[in-house]
Symmetry: C2
Subunit: 138 residues, 2 copies
DNA sequence: CCTTGACTTGATCCGCGGTTCAAGTCGCAG
DNA sequence: CTGCGACTTGAACCGCGGATCAAGTCAAGG
Protein backbone atom coordinates (compact mmCIF):
# COMPACT_ATOMS: atom_id res chain seq x y z
CA UNK A 1 0.00 0.00 0.00
CA UNK A 2 1.38 3.26 -1.05
CA UNK A 3 0.53 5.78 1.63
CA UNK A 4 0.88 8.40 -1.05
CA UNK A 5 3.82 9.73 0.87
CA UNK A 6 6.75 11.05 -1.07
CA UNK A 7 10.33 10.35 -0.32
CA UNK A 8 12.61 13.35 0.07
CA UNK A 9 14.37 12.45 -3.13
CA UNK A 10 11.11 12.54 -5.01
CA UNK A 11 10.07 15.81 -3.47
CA UNK A 12 13.45 17.24 -4.30
CA UNK A 13 13.16 16.21 -7.88
CA UNK A 14 9.57 17.34 -8.35
CA UNK A 15 10.15 20.65 -6.65
CA UNK A 16 13.49 21.18 -8.36
CA UNK A 17 15.00 21.91 -4.98
CA UNK A 18 18.03 20.27 -3.46
CA UNK A 19 17.48 17.89 -0.54
CA UNK A 20 19.75 20.11 1.48
CA UNK A 21 17.37 22.97 0.79
CA UNK A 22 14.43 20.90 1.98
CA UNK A 23 16.18 20.10 5.23
CA UNK A 24 17.16 23.72 5.52
CA UNK A 25 13.53 24.78 5.11
CA UNK A 26 12.50 22.24 7.70
CA UNK A 27 14.96 23.63 10.19
CA UNK A 28 13.45 27.03 9.55
CA UNK A 29 9.95 25.72 10.14
CA UNK A 30 8.70 26.16 6.59
CA UNK A 31 7.89 22.53 5.96
CA UNK A 32 7.66 19.31 7.90
CA UNK A 33 7.73 15.69 6.86
CA UNK A 34 4.56 13.71 7.57
CA UNK A 35 6.67 10.90 8.91
CA UNK A 36 9.72 8.80 8.39
CA UNK A 37 10.58 5.72 6.50
CA UNK A 38 13.45 4.56 8.60
CA UNK A 39 15.49 7.74 8.70
CA UNK A 40 14.11 9.05 5.45
CA UNK A 41 11.70 11.89 5.48
CA UNK A 42 8.32 11.12 3.98
CA UNK A 43 6.15 13.98 2.82
CA UNK A 44 2.51 14.30 1.94
CA UNK A 45 2.05 15.61 -1.58
CA UNK A 46 0.83 19.01 -0.44
CA UNK A 47 4.37 19.83 0.49
CA UNK A 48 4.83 20.45 -3.20
CA UNK A 49 2.33 23.25 -3.12
CA UNK A 50 3.94 24.58 -0.05
CA UNK A 51 7.28 24.56 -1.76
CA UNK A 52 5.86 26.26 -4.80
CA UNK A 53 4.60 28.97 -2.52
CA UNK A 54 7.97 29.32 -0.88
CA UNK A 55 9.81 29.45 -4.17
CA UNK A 56 7.39 32.00 -5.52
CA UNK A 57 7.59 34.21 -2.48
CA UNK A 58 11.35 34.00 -2.41
CA UNK A 59 11.54 34.96 -6.04
CA UNK A 60 9.50 37.99 -5.09
CA UNK A 61 12.13 39.00 -2.61
CA UNK A 62 10.70 37.65 0.63
CA UNK A 63 13.16 36.28 3.11
CA UNK A 64 12.79 32.84 4.59
CA UNK A 65 11.83 34.43 7.88
CA UNK A 66 9.05 36.42 6.26
CA UNK A 67 7.66 33.43 4.47
CA UNK A 68 7.77 31.55 7.71
CA UNK A 69 5.69 34.18 9.44
CA UNK A 70 3.00 33.91 6.81
CA UNK A 71 2.98 30.16 6.86
CA UNK A 72 2.50 29.72 10.56
CA UNK A 73 -0.22 32.34 10.67
CA UNK A 74 -3.77 31.74 11.81
CA UNK A 75 -6.61 33.40 9.93
CA UNK A 76 -7.64 34.87 13.23
CA UNK A 77 -4.43 36.79 13.23
CA UNK A 78 -5.68 40.22 12.36
CA UNK A 79 -2.19 41.54 12.53
CA UNK A 80 -1.25 39.25 9.73
CA UNK A 81 -3.91 40.74 7.50
CA UNK A 82 -2.32 44.07 7.95
CA UNK A 83 1.12 42.75 7.12
CA UNK A 84 -0.22 41.00 4.07
CA UNK A 85 -1.90 44.11 2.81
CA UNK A 86 1.27 46.03 3.43
CA UNK A 87 3.26 43.46 1.54
CA UNK A 88 0.83 43.68 -1.33
CA UNK A 89 1.49 47.40 -1.40
CA UNK A 90 5.23 46.82 -1.41
CA UNK A 91 4.81 44.43 -4.26
CA UNK A 92 2.86 47.02 -6.15
CA UNK A 93 5.71 49.45 -5.89
CA UNK A 94 8.16 46.78 -6.83
CA UNK A 95 6.10 45.89 -9.87
CA UNK A 96 6.17 49.53 -10.88
CA UNK A 97 9.93 49.68 -10.56
CA UNK A 98 10.40 46.50 -12.51
CA UNK A 99 8.09 47.66 -15.22
CA UNK A 100 9.99 50.89 -15.60
CA UNK A 101 13.27 49.08 -15.61
CA UNK A 102 12.03 46.67 -18.22
CA UNK A 103 10.91 49.53 -20.42
CA UNK A 104 14.27 51.22 -19.99
CA UNK A 105 16.03 48.03 -20.85
CA UNK A 106 13.96 47.54 -23.95
CA UNK A 107 14.70 51.06 -25.01
CA UNK A 108 18.38 50.71 -24.27
CA UNK A 109 18.56 47.68 -26.47
CA UNK A 110 17.85 49.88 -29.48
CA UNK A 111 19.32 53.17 -28.30
CA UNK A 112 22.69 54.41 -29.52
CA UNK A 113 23.71 56.67 -26.72
CA UNK A 114 27.40 56.64 -25.98
CA UNK A 115 27.60 55.04 -22.59
CA UNK A 116 24.21 53.47 -22.75
CA UNK A 117 23.52 54.11 -19.13
CA UNK A 118 23.64 57.83 -19.80
CA UNK A 119 20.81 57.85 -22.30
CA UNK A 120 18.30 60.36 -20.97
CA UNK A 121 15.36 58.12 -21.69
CA UNK A 122 17.05 55.38 -19.80
CA UNK A 123 17.74 57.54 -16.83
CA UNK A 124 14.30 59.04 -16.71
CA UNK A 125 12.65 55.74 -15.92
CA UNK A 126 15.30 54.80 -13.44
CA UNK A 127 15.21 58.01 -11.50
CA UNK A 128 11.82 57.36 -10.01
CA UNK A 129 12.92 55.53 -6.93
CA UNK A 130 11.33 57.67 -4.24
CA UNK A 131 11.80 55.88 -0.95
CA UNK A 132 14.38 53.13 -0.77
CA UNK A 133 12.05 51.54 1.75
CA UNK A 134 14.93 50.53 3.92
CA UNK A 135 13.51 48.22 6.50
CA UNK A 136 14.69 49.35 9.88
CA UNK A 137 16.30 46.53 11.78
CA UNK A 138 13.15 45.43 13.50
CA UNK B 1 35.72 78.12 -6.20
CA UNK B 2 33.32 75.32 -5.98
CA UNK B 3 34.08 72.86 -8.75
CA UNK B 4 30.60 71.49 -8.26
CA UNK B 5 32.20 68.36 -6.94
CA UNK B 6 30.50 66.56 -4.12
CA UNK B 7 32.19 65.20 -1.10
CA UNK B 8 31.59 61.54 -0.33
CA UNK B 9 29.61 62.49 2.73
CA UNK B 10 27.28 64.59 0.64
CA UNK B 11 26.86 61.89 -1.97
CA UNK B 12 26.16 59.39 0.76
CA UNK B 13 23.50 61.56 2.24
CA UNK B 14 21.84 62.49 -1.03
CA UNK B 15 21.87 58.95 -2.33
CA UNK B 16 20.82 57.49 0.99
CA UNK B 17 23.71 55.09 0.76
CA UNK B 18 26.41 54.53 3.34
CA UNK B 19 29.90 55.76 2.55
CA UNK B 20 31.07 52.23 2.98
CA UNK B 21 28.70 51.21 0.24
CA UNK B 22 30.06 53.88 -2.07
CA UNK B 23 33.59 52.65 -1.52
CA UNK B 24 32.36 49.13 -2.05
CA UNK B 25 30.77 50.09 -5.35
CA UNK B 26 33.95 51.80 -6.37
CA UNK B 27 35.95 48.68 -5.67
CA UNK B 28 33.51 46.81 -7.88
CA UNK B 29 33.94 49.32 -10.66
CA UNK B 30 30.42 50.73 -10.53
CA UNK B 31 31.40 54.29 -9.75
CA UNK B 32 34.54 56.39 -9.60
CA UNK B 33 35.35 59.67 -7.91
CA UNK B 34 36.23 62.54 -10.23
CA UNK B 35 39.12 63.40 -7.99
CA UNK B 36 40.27 63.85 -4.46
CA UNK B 37 40.28 66.58 -1.95
CA UNK B 38 43.19 65.51 0.10
CA UNK B 39 42.22 61.92 0.74
CA UNK B 40 38.54 62.57 0.38
CA UNK B 41 36.75 61.38 -2.67
CA UNK B 42 35.11 64.09 -4.74
CA UNK B 43 32.36 63.16 -7.14
CA UNK B 44 30.71 64.91 -10.04
CA UNK B 45 26.97 65.23 -9.52
CA UNK B 46 26.11 62.64 -12.17
CA UNK B 47 27.25 59.99 -9.77
CA UNK B 48 23.88 60.49 -8.16
CA UNK B 49 22.12 59.34 -11.31
CA UNK B 50 24.48 56.47 -11.55
CA UNK B 51 23.70 55.48 -8.01
CA UNK B 52 19.99 55.77 -8.66
CA UNK B 53 20.43 53.39 -11.54
CA UNK B 54 22.36 50.98 -9.38
CA UNK B 55 19.82 51.10 -6.59
CA UNK B 56 16.99 50.60 -9.02
CA UNK B 57 18.63 47.68 -10.75
CA UNK B 58 19.54 46.06 -7.46
CA UNK B 59 16.00 46.39 -6.24
CA UNK B 60 15.00 44.56 -9.39
CA UNK B 61 17.18 41.67 -8.40
CA UNK B 62 20.30 42.36 -10.43
CA UNK B 63 23.58 41.50 -8.81
CA UNK B 64 26.39 43.99 -8.54
CA UNK B 65 28.29 42.06 -11.16
CA UNK B 66 25.41 42.26 -13.60
CA UNK B 67 24.96 45.96 -13.09
CA UNK B 68 28.66 46.39 -13.60
CA UNK B 69 28.52 44.62 -16.92
CA UNK B 70 25.84 46.96 -18.16
CA UNK B 71 27.62 50.03 -16.94
CA UNK B 72 30.91 49.40 -18.63
CA UNK B 73 29.24 48.49 -21.88
CA UNK B 74 29.79 50.26 -25.19
CA UNK B 75 26.84 50.85 -27.50
CA UNK B 76 28.80 49.03 -30.14
CA UNK B 77 28.56 45.94 -28.01
CA UNK B 78 25.98 44.00 -29.93
CA UNK B 79 26.22 41.22 -27.44
CA UNK B 80 25.06 43.60 -24.79
CA UNK B 81 21.90 44.33 -26.73
CA UNK B 82 21.07 40.71 -26.65
CA UNK B 83 21.68 40.47 -22.94
CA UNK B 84 19.59 43.53 -22.34
CA UNK B 85 16.72 42.17 -24.32
CA UNK B 86 17.02 38.90 -22.47
CA UNK B 87 16.99 40.72 -19.16
CA UNK B 88 13.90 42.59 -20.23
CA UNK B 89 12.27 39.25 -20.86
CA UNK B 90 13.31 37.99 -17.46
CA UNK B 91 11.86 41.08 -15.91
CA UNK B 92 8.63 40.47 -17.73
CA UNK B 93 8.33 37.06 -16.16
CA UNK B 94 9.27 38.42 -12.80
CA UNK B 95 6.64 41.12 -13.13
CA UNK B 96 4.10 38.42 -13.86
CA UNK B 97 5.07 36.46 -10.80
CA UNK B 98 4.97 39.49 -8.60
CA UNK B 99 1.61 40.52 -9.94
CA UNK B 100 0.17 37.12 -9.21
CA UNK B 101 1.69 37.09 -5.77
CA UNK B 102 0.32 40.52 -5.05
CA UNK B 103 -3.15 39.41 -6.11
CA UNK B 104 -2.87 36.34 -3.93
CA UNK B 105 -1.77 38.42 -1.05
CA UNK B 106 -4.63 40.82 -1.47
CA UNK B 107 -7.04 37.95 -1.57
CA UNK B 108 -5.48 36.30 1.44
CA UNK B 109 -5.93 39.44 3.43
CA UNK B 110 -9.68 38.98 3.26
CA UNK B 111 -9.91 35.20 3.00
CA UNK B 112 -10.88 33.04 5.97
CA UNK B 113 -9.35 29.77 5.02
CA UNK B 114 -7.92 27.85 7.95
CA UNK B 115 -4.23 27.90 7.32
CA UNK B 116 -4.33 30.82 4.97
CA UNK B 117 -1.64 29.40 2.78
CA UNK B 118 -3.96 26.53 1.93
CA UNK B 119 -6.67 28.67 0.43
CA UNK B 120 -7.21 27.35 -3.09
CA UNK B 121 -7.39 30.80 -4.58
CA UNK B 122 -4.13 31.64 -2.94
CA UNK B 123 -2.44 28.54 -4.22
CA UNK B 124 -3.74 28.88 -7.72
CA UNK B 125 -1.85 32.06 -8.36
CA UNK B 126 1.26 30.80 -6.71
CA UNK B 127 1.44 27.55 -8.60
CA UNK B 128 2.48 29.17 -11.83
CA UNK B 129 6.20 29.08 -11.34
CA UNK B 130 7.27 27.29 -14.47
CA UNK B 131 11.05 26.93 -14.59
CA UNK B 132 13.09 27.83 -11.52
CA UNK B 133 15.97 28.15 -13.96
CA UNK B 134 18.22 26.16 -11.69
CA UNK B 135 21.51 25.67 -13.40
CA UNK B 136 22.30 21.98 -13.21
CA UNK B 137 25.59 21.41 -11.49
CA UNK B 138 27.06 20.46 -14.85
C1' DC C 1 25.70 -12.45 7.54
C1' DC C 2 27.85 -8.43 5.09
C1' DT C 3 27.79 -5.12 1.48
C1' DT C 4 25.79 -1.48 -1.02
C1' DG C 5 23.73 2.77 -1.67
C1' DA C 6 20.61 6.21 -0.51
C1' DC C 7 19.56 8.66 3.04
C1' DT C 8 20.59 10.91 7.97
C1' DT C 9 23.01 14.29 11.01
C1' DG C 10 25.81 18.30 12.47
C1' DA C 11 29.50 21.04 11.11
C1' DT C 12 31.88 23.53 8.00
C1' DC C 13 32.30 26.21 3.96
C1' DC C 14 30.74 29.37 0.23
C1' DG C 15 29.44 33.86 -2.37
C1' DC C 16 26.97 37.99 -1.86
C1' DG C 17 26.50 42.61 -0.19
C1' DG C 18 27.81 45.16 2.51
C1' DT C 19 29.23 47.04 7.86
C1' DT C 20 32.52 47.56 11.31
C1' DC C 21 37.00 48.10 13.02
C1' DA C 22 41.84 49.53 13.81
C1' DA C 23 45.17 52.33 12.35
C1' DG C 24 46.67 56.00 9.49
C1' DT C 25 46.26 60.72 7.17
C1' DC C 26 44.44 65.03 6.11
C1' DG C 27 43.23 70.11 6.85
C1' DC C 28 41.93 73.38 9.99
C1' DA C 29 41.39 75.86 14.64
C1' DG C 30 43.56 77.49 18.37
C1' DC D 1 52.98 73.05 16.86
C1' DT D 2 49.15 70.52 18.89
C1' DG D 3 45.05 68.86 18.98
C1' DC D 4 40.63 67.51 16.83
C1' DG D 5 37.40 65.44 13.85
C1' DA D 6 36.24 63.72 9.50
C1' DC D 7 37.90 61.17 6.32
C1' DT D 8 41.18 57.21 4.40
C1' DT D 9 42.73 52.27 4.02
C1' DG D 10 42.66 47.11 4.27
C1' DA D 11 41.00 43.47 6.85
C1' DA D 12 37.86 41.26 9.58
C1' DC D 13 33.29 40.35 10.45
C1' DC D 14 28.17 39.78 9.62
C1' DG D 15 23.53 37.58 8.12
C1' DC D 16 21.48 35.24 4.45
C1' DG D 17 20.65 31.14 1.82
C1' DG D 18 21.96 27.45 1.10
C1' DA D 19 25.97 23.53 -0.69
C1' DT D 20 29.18 20.32 0.74
C1' DC D 21 31.42 17.06 3.62
C1' DA D 22 32.43 13.42 7.03
C1' DA D 23 30.55 10.13 9.62
C1' DG D 24 26.62 7.48 10.96
C1' DT D 25 22.29 4.63 10.05
C1' DC D 26 18.99 2.22 7.66
C1' DA D 27 16.59 -1.57 4.36
C1' DA D 28 17.25 -4.53 0.85
C1' DG D 29 19.76 -7.88 -1.77
C1' DG D 30 23.05 -11.40 -2.43
Amino acid sequence: MDDALLDIAEVAQRSALAPSALRFYEKKGLIAPAGRNGLRRAYTPDVLERLALITCARSAGFSIAEVSRFIVAQPSDADLRVRMAAKAGDLDEQIGRLTRLRDSLQHAAVCDYEPIVDCPDFKRAVGSVPEPAIVPSE
